[in-house]
């Protein structure tokens, strides 16, 4: 089974590399002309995207964020693509990563459908509005606001003392009525963890903002999902991270369709990125089940701090 997966990964990677090399050689006379302007052969960029997104796919699952939250600032900052296409690709990257990780997380009970459905409905509806706003607003304004938001969330996570297994004494009436609770098996300790949530109305309200921001920034929404599900509502960190990852498949679907239908999707950018992040996410899910919650928390903090700093500095024109 393991060897089959390895073979699949190798075959898919070979197809991407061979395909891009094939195009590069087939178009070499014209590419040479283009290269004079860009100094780098055009096929280097999609090939680099494939490698980068594979790594992001692994890291994103561990951090409970969409690949998009890292993809957009990194690709937007160091690749020659316009931010409109980067945001469209970022959403599809986050979506693909969530689709790849979702089945495993749901089957293991680490992601919870009853928790995800109500918040997913609100977030996905609002993501449509956010995507439409994001495609209409000046990019620097969106990026500055995003950087401030993510760095604020990093501060909240660092200050929180009980985020791995939050102490929820009493479930609130709404979560009780909706039966939002569950049990998951913590592999690292061998324990079955019973969990419930509180402050559900406030959590649902915050997902209005999260949905709008997810669509507006084109970054997925894991960076905001995890703190709200974990710190505010009290879901254990692994449940919050896993449900967040699955939730991205709902939120980002609606936002991604707005970008697709508005033309902000380039197959040469999107397909190598999607395949890279999907393969990386499959590897990430395997690692997640054996990782201690504290380690996941540190990864979340580091990734959010980097992504937030990058977005803020670029929005302010300091690091372009």
């Amino acid at each position: 089974m393991l060897s089959l997966r390895r073979v699949t990964v190798v075959v898919v990677a070979a197809i991407i590399v061979a395909g891009l090399c094939s195009m590069a050689f087939a178009e070499s006379p014209v590419t040479e002309v283009v290269s004079k302007a860009s100094t780098v052969p055009w096929w280097v960029w999609p090939l680099s995207l494939f490698v980068l997104t594979f790594v992001l796919g692994v890291v994103a699952v561990l951090g409970g964020v969409g690949g998009g939250v890292l993809f957009v600032p990194i690709v937007g900052g160091f690749f020659p693509f316009h931010l409109d296409f980067v945001r469209g690709a970022g959403l599809l990257v986050a979506l693909a990563g969530a689709l790849a990780a979702g089945p495993g997380l749901l089957k293991k009970g680490m992601a919870n459908l009853r928790l995800a459905l109500p918040v997913g409905l609100i977030a996905s509806a609002c993501a449509i509005v956010g995507a439409m706003i994001g495609l209409a607003l000046p990019t620097n304004i969106v990026q500055t606001a995003l950087g401030i938001t993510i760095l604020g969330i990093v501060g909240i996570i660092i200050k929180a003392k009980k985020s791995e297994y939050p102490d929820v004494k009493v479930a609130d009436p709404l979560s009780t009525a909706l039966r939002i609770n569950g049990i998951y098996h913590e592999v690292s300790t061998g324990e079955d963890i019973n969990w419930k949530v509180h402050k559900t109305p406030l959590g649902l309200g915050l997902f209005i903002i999260i949905g709008v921001m997810a669509g507006m920034f084109g970054l997925g929404a894991g960076w905001a999902n995890v703190p709200v599900l974990n710190i505010l509502m009290g879901a254990p960190l692994k449940v919050a991270v896993s449900t967040s990852k699955f939730l991205l498949s709902i939120t980002d679907t609606s936002a991604a369709w707005i970008y697709i239908n508005n033309g902000a999707v380039l197959p040469m950018m999107v397909v190598p990125s999607i395949i890279g992040v999907m393969l990386g996410s499959m590897v990430g899910v395997k690692i997640l089940a054996k990782t201690k919650p504290a380690a996941v928390r540190y990864i979340v903090i580091i990734m959010l701090f980097f992504a937030g700093s990058r977005a803020l500095l670029k929005g302010l024109g300091i690091w372009n």
């Binding site: 898919v12 197809i15 395909g19 094939s22 195009m23 178009e27 014209v30 590419t31 283009v34 302007a37 860009s38 055009w42 020659p80 693509f81 316009h82 409109d84 296409f85 469209g88 599809l92 689709l99 790849a100 979702g102 089945p103 749901l106 293991k108 009970g109 459908l113 459905l117 409905l121 996905s124 449509i128 439409m132 495609l135 209409a136 607003l137 909706l178 049990i183 098996h185 079955d192 498949s249 709902i250 679907t253 609606s254 936002a255 991604a256 369709w257 707005i258 697709i260 239908n261 508005n262 033309g263 999707v265 380039l266 197959p267 040469m268 999107v270 397909v271 999607i274 395949i275 999907m278």
Partner: protein, 141 residues
Amino acid sequence: MENKEKKEVATEEQLRYAGLLSIGMKIGMAMLLISFAIYAIGILPPFVPVEDLPSLWSMPVHDYLHKTGIHQGWSWLYMLNKGDFLNFVGIAFLGGVTVLCFFAIIPILIRKKDYVYALIAALEVTVLVLAASGLLKTGGH
């Protein structure tokens, strides 16, 4: 033993959703691979020549659409004989998987008399179909 654990931690609708999502993801992935291979190998000629991409992918999307003459929405359906637009079949399929998953769990939720969640799932299908419809367009910046 392992199956017993799975039954305890995941509901019937959650497992159904996960199963469909797994199949849909794999089909979508296969579509992407095949269509990209067709694009990359050059079996179907692209609408936008690859040698033109570096001068186009740095443009804002509205300039790109104007320059290439590509229309918004589902117009790509009429351009599936072009290698680059063939990739939109896989992309659209991945965008539709979640809709199918929600649609599939509604009967289970109704059978379990979980009407609130059946309604939530139905509303989610409506939201995603609206987003995919192409009716919502922006003016651009």
